[in-house]
Symmetry: C2
Subunit: 561 residues, 2 copies
C-alpha cells in the first residue's frame, strides 16, 4: 500500500443512522482536504408512518454533500440486505452513479430493487464472495463474516495508508446462526494484531445486558410453542430473517401443519432465499387461496406486519378484512419479533384487535426466546472491543441515547478515544487524534408518491394543516370591469357540522365574507388577482375560525372573463 502523502487525511462522515434509528448512510474519505476520494458504505431508508408522515412511504438520507463530491466517489459498498442499509439505492443511485458492491444474497435483493426502479441495466453491480476482498483506490477492503438476523452480514475491514478501519455493520455473536457461518473470530484477532485505528460500530442494543441469544434457541422455543397450540396459528416475523422463516417452516412441519406465506415481502424474500440456495429442506408451502381447505390445526400462516403496518397482512387479519385469512377464538398469533421504537401504538392496537376477537397472543414479553435480537447486547460489545482493540471507537447506528451510552462503554473498556457522531459530523480519524473537523448538511428526503422532497418542504406543512384543519376553496369570476359575474362559491372539505342545514348556512356566511372582502377593495385593487385572493382568503379564514374554531387552508381562484 502506498505511503500516505504529507497532507493526506482519513475521514469518516455519517449522513444517516447516527442520532436516529435506521436510514444508514456512511462515507469514508481519503486524501488531502481539497481532493478526497470517497467510498460510501450502505445507503438505507426508514419507513414513513401513517400517523407522523402521512402519504410518505419512505424516508431517505439527504445525499446532497455526496452529490457534490460525486466525481470523487469510487463506489458504494453494501454490508447486508436490510432495508435500512440498501433501501435508498434505487432512489438515490441516479444522483451518484457509482459502482455498487455486495455479497450474493444482498446482490439478489438489490437486483430486484433496481428492476423495480428500471435501473437494472444501468447500475454496475458487482458480486463479492463471502470473505472476499475489494480494492478501491486508496481503500483495500476485506469482507468479514459476522452473524445478524439476515443471511450474509458482513463487516468491512477497510485498510488505508493511514490505518485500518473496522466497520462492523449490523452484527451480534450468534454461536448457532442456523444459516451462514459463525462470526469470523480468527479474522478479528488477526485485524487486531495488525492494529485497528478505528472501529465504527452498531449501538442499537447498548442498553441491553448480557447477550442477544441465538437463532437456534428460537428454533427450539418456537417449535415447542407451536406444537402446543390447537386452533389456527399465525407467526409473524421479519421476512428478511431467513433463518427465522426456516424455523417457522420447520416448526410447522414438526407440528403437523402446512405453512402458508402471507404478505408480499414474505413471498419475495422466500423466493430470493431459494434463488441463492437457501431454504432447501423446508416443507412445501400452500397458497393463500387454498388455506381454507385445511383443518384449523393443520395450517400455519407466516405473515408480514409484525410492526402493525396498516396495510400489511397481519393488520388486515386483525381488522377482519383479509381476503383469505381469518382468525378467531381459539386461534393464536405468535409475534416472533421485537417492537421497533415508534411502532408501539400501532402494535398495541393490533394486539387489542386480536384480543377483542378472542385470539390468543404469544409475544417476546410473554415467552422468553420467542424472538432474539440481531444486534449486540452489552456483553457482545465488550467481546468485540476485546477482539478488535481499536484506538478509536465511533458508535453509530443508534439514537442519541444509544450513541452516548456506547461512548461511555467504550471509554470504560479503555479504548483511548471515543466520539459519538451526529449525522453530518465529519470526523478526521488520522493523522492526529480523532476530531470533528466539519459539519456538513445532513437531512431527510421523503418519497412522496413519485416525488422526492425535503422533509421541511412546504407541501408537507400544508398537508399537516389540511389534515388537522381541512380546506376551503373560493372561486369567483370577474368581468373585464372587475365586477363579480359568478360566485363567490365556497367549497369546504374536512369540516362538518352535525346538522346539514347549519352547514349550508355556514357556507353562505363564508360566501358572504368572501363577497364583502371583495367589495371592500378599491376599484384599482380589484385589478390585481393577488390582492383579491389575499383579501378574500383572509376574510374567509377569519369567518371559518369564528364559525367553527377551525383554521382551514383557504385558497382562492379568480377567473377573469
Amino acid at each position: 500500500m502506498k505511503a500516505p502523502a504529507a497532507d493526506d487525511e482519513l475521514v469518516f462522515l455519517p449522513l444517516g443512522g447516527s442520532g436516529e434509528i435506521g436510514m444508514n448512510l456512511n462515507a469514508y474519505g481519503y486524501g488531502p482536504p481539497d481532493a478526497r476520494q470517497w467510498i460510501i458504505v450502505d445507503i438505507g431508508v426508514t419507513f414513513g408512518r401513517e400517523d407522523t408522515t402521512p402519504g410518505v412511504e419512505l424516508i431517505l438520507p439527504d445525499p446532497a454533500y455526496l452529490e457534490d463530491e460525486r466525481d470523487n466517489i469510487i463506489a458504494i459498498v453494501l454490508t447486508h440486505a436490510h432495508e435500512d442499509h440498501i433501501g435508498a439505492l434505487g432512489w438515490l443511485w441516479p444522483r451518484l452513479k457509482v459502482p455498487v458492491y455486495a455479497t450474493p444474497f444482498t446482490a439478489a435483493l438489490v437486483r430486484e430493487k433496481l428492476r423495480e426502479h428500471g435501473l437494472l441495466e444501468k447500475v454496475p453491480l458487482t458480486e463479492i464472495p463471502l470473505k472476499g476482498n475489494l480494492k478501491l483506490g486508496p481503500f483495500d477492503i476485506d469482507f468479514v463474516t459476522l452473524t445478524h438476523s439476515i443471511p450474509e452480514p458482513n463487516g468491512l475491514a477497510i485498510r488505508t495508508p493511514l490505518g485500518l478501519i473496522w466497520h462492523t455493520g449490523d452484527w451480534k455473536i450468534d454461536p448457532d446462526p442456523l444459516i451462514g457461518e459463525t462470526t469470523d473470530e480468527a479474522k478479528l484477532r488477526e485485524m487486531a494484531d495488525e492494529g485497528v485505528l478505528a472501529m465504527v460500530c452498531d449501538s442499537t442494543n447498548v442498553f441491553v445486558e448480557g447477550t442477544a441469544g441465538s437463532e437456534a434457541e428460537v428454533r427450539e422455543k418456537l417449535t415447542e410453542v407451536i406444537k402446543k397450540r390447537k386452533g389456527r396459528v399465525a407467526v409473524t416475523a421479519f421476512a428478511s430473517n431467513v433463518a427465522r422463516v426456516e424455523t417457522a417452516l420447520l416448526a410447522a412441519r414438526a407440528a403437523g401443519r402446512t405453512p402458508c406465506l402471507v404478505g408480499r415481502s414474505m413471498i419475495r424474500i422466500y423466493n430470493a432465499a431459494k434463488s441463492v440456495g437457501l431454504l432447501r429442506d423446508t416443507p412445501q408451502v400452500i397458497d393463500e387461496d387454498d388455506a381454507d381447505t385445511l383443518p384449523d390445526e393443520n395450517i400455519l400462516f407466516l405473515c408480514t406486519g409484525s410492526q402493525g403496518e396498516a396495510r400489511a397482512a397481519l393488520s388486515r387479519i386483525a381488522r377482519g378484512d383479509h381476503r383469505n385469512v381469518s382468525l378467531r377464538q381459539g386461534d393464536t398469533v405468535i409475534f416472533s419479533s421485537r417492537v421497533i421504537p415508534g411502532n408501539e401504538a400501532a402494535i398495541h392496537k393490533l394486539h387489542e384487535q386480536f384480543l377483542a376477537r378472542g385470539v390468543e397472543l404469544v409475544t417476546a414479553d410473554s415467552e422468553h426466546l420467542i424472538h432474539v435480537s440481531g444486534h449486540p447486547a452489552r456483553d457482545e460489545l465488550k467481546q468485540m472491543y476485546a477482539w478488535a482493540r481499536p484506538r478509536i471507537a465511533i458508535p453509530v447506528h443508534g439514537e442519541q441515547r444509544h450513541i452516548r451510552e456506547h461512548v461511555k462503554l467504550a471509554l470504560e473498556l479503555q479504548v483511548p478515544e471515543a466520539i459519538g457522531p451526529n449525522n453530518g459530523d465529519m470526523i478526521r480519524l488520522a493523522p492526529g487524534p480523532a476530531t470533528v473537523i466539519d459539519e456538513v448538511p445532513a437531512g431527510r428526503l421523503y418519497v412522496d408518491g413519485a416525488n422526492i422532497i425535503p422533509a421541511e418542504d412546504d407541501s408537507l406543512k400544508d398537508r399537516r394543516r389540511l389534515g388537522a384543519e381541512g380546506s376551503a376553496h373560493v372561486s369567483l369570476a370577474l368581468s373585464g370591469k372587475n365586477a363579480i359575474v359568478a360566485g363567490p362559491t365556497v367549497n369546504v372539505r374536512g369540516i362538518s357540522m352535525p346538522d346539514e342545514e347549519d352547514f349550508e348556512l355556514a357556507l353562505e356566511k363564508l360566501e358572504d365574507a368572501a363577497k364583502a372582502a371583495f367589495q371592500r377593495l378599491k376599484h384599482q385593487e380589484r385589478e390585481d388577482d393577488e390582492l383579491v385572493e389575499q383579501a378574500v382568503m383572509r376574510s374567509v379564514r377569519k369567518a371559518a375560525e369564528k364559525l367553527w374554531r377551525k383554521r382551514p387552508l383557504v385558497d382562492v381562484t379568480v377567473l377573469r372573463l
Copy 2:
C-alpha cells in the same frame, strides 16, 4: 329501603373506559326493563393526538343511549377530578341536563370547566362532603375515601333494593398519600359484612406485580435526586397530582431552589388546590418571566408536558422555543411521571431532543420511585377483593388485555362470578346470575374545533386523505350556452416537485385534463353541474395519479354566468 318489585332489575352499563383507556362513562339502572331509573357515574374524555387524530383536541364517549333515556336519569355522580372522569361534562351536559354531585375539590375543578363552557349558572352542581351520603331514587350512595393520584378520590357504595354495588373508581392503597386520608378500610370491611353484590373495579395495573408504592416514597426520592443536581432542574409531573406538586415545591426549597410553575394547567391546578386549602406550607413560586434573574442552581421549573404533548411547556423547552425557559448542557429534566400507552413515540422524541442538547434525564426507568402509579397493582387488587368479598367482579377501566386478565385474577381469587364488559354491554347484576342482556350503541365523539362529530364522520376521512395525498381544486366558468369562458384553473395544495418549472408544467397538464374531460361531455350533459364536476374530477384525479403517484382529493367548482 323499599323492597324490590317482582320485575325490578339492577343493571350496569359501561359506555366508556371498558376495552380502552380513559373516557370513563358508566351508568347504573334500576327498575323494570321498560322503566329503569338511571344514575351516571363519571363522564370523562380522552385526549386527541396530533399524529392519529389531527385537529381533534378531545374525544368523548357517545352518550346517545343515555340521551334517549334522559328523562329517567336522576343524576351524574363524579368520583374524582381526573379528566378521564369529568372532562366530558361541559361538552355533554347540555344533552343530558341532570344534576351533578361531587366532593369539594372535584367540584372546584368542575366549576372552572363549566365556566369555560358558559354553563356555570345552568348546571345544578351539589357538593357532597368526603364520606358523605346521597340518596337518588332507588340508589343510596355512600362516598368512600380511597387513595389515588389526585385529591379526594372516592369510591361509591351504591345500595339498591337488589343489593350493594361497590364502584371503586380509580384507586390504590397508599399508606401515606401526603394529601388526604388513607383508604377507609373500616368502611370496606363494613360493606363486606353487609354483603357486596358486585364490585366494579379499576383494571389499569393488573399486569403489575406487587404494590404501586407511596407518594411519601416519591417525596423522599425526588428530594434526594434534586439535591444532587447542579445546573437548572425541571421536573415534569401531572398537574392534578397535588401531592406530587407539593413534593416538587418542598424539594425545591430543600435544595435551595425557587420553584417556577410552567404551563397553563400547572398554574390552574395550583390555584384550585390553594382554593380548597391545600398547598398551604409550600414556598412562594416565582413568575416565569423572572426566572432568568436566578442563578441556575437556584431555580426549579415544574412543567406540564410529561406525555410529550407538542404544545405543552416541556416540548417547547426541548425544541428550544419556549419564551422564558431554556435548558442546556449540565441541566436536568426529571420525569416524575409514567408513559401513557400511545405516547411512547412523542415522549421518546422529547427525550432525544433533550439529550441532543446535552440535558440529562432522570426517568422512572433510571430511578426507582421517582414516580409511583395511582392505580392498584396486583397485590392491592387482591387486598381489595379480600376486603370487599363481592359476589360478582366487573373489571372496567382498562383495555381488552387488562380486563381479561382482571377477570382471570378475580376467578382465581374465588369470586363466584366475573364479567369483563365492553363498552355498550348492558349487564344485569340482579336478579339471577350476572348476564349481558343487551348491547347498546357505544362510540366516540370528536371535539373538532367548535363542532362535535362522530369518530366515523366523512369529514375526518377527507382530512386523512388530504393529509396524506393533498388536494386539487378546479374552477371553471361556463356561459349560458355551456361554453368555457374562463378556466379551468387548477389549484394544488400539499404536493410539490423539486423543480418549480416541472410543477408549472404539471399544473398545465391537469388543466388540460380538466378541459378534455369537459369537452368529451355531450352538450346536454354540460347543463348538469354535477355531471360536469364528476367528469372533471375523475379526469384530474387520474392525471394527478399518473404525474405524481398521488391521489389528491379533487373538487370542482362550476361557475355559471
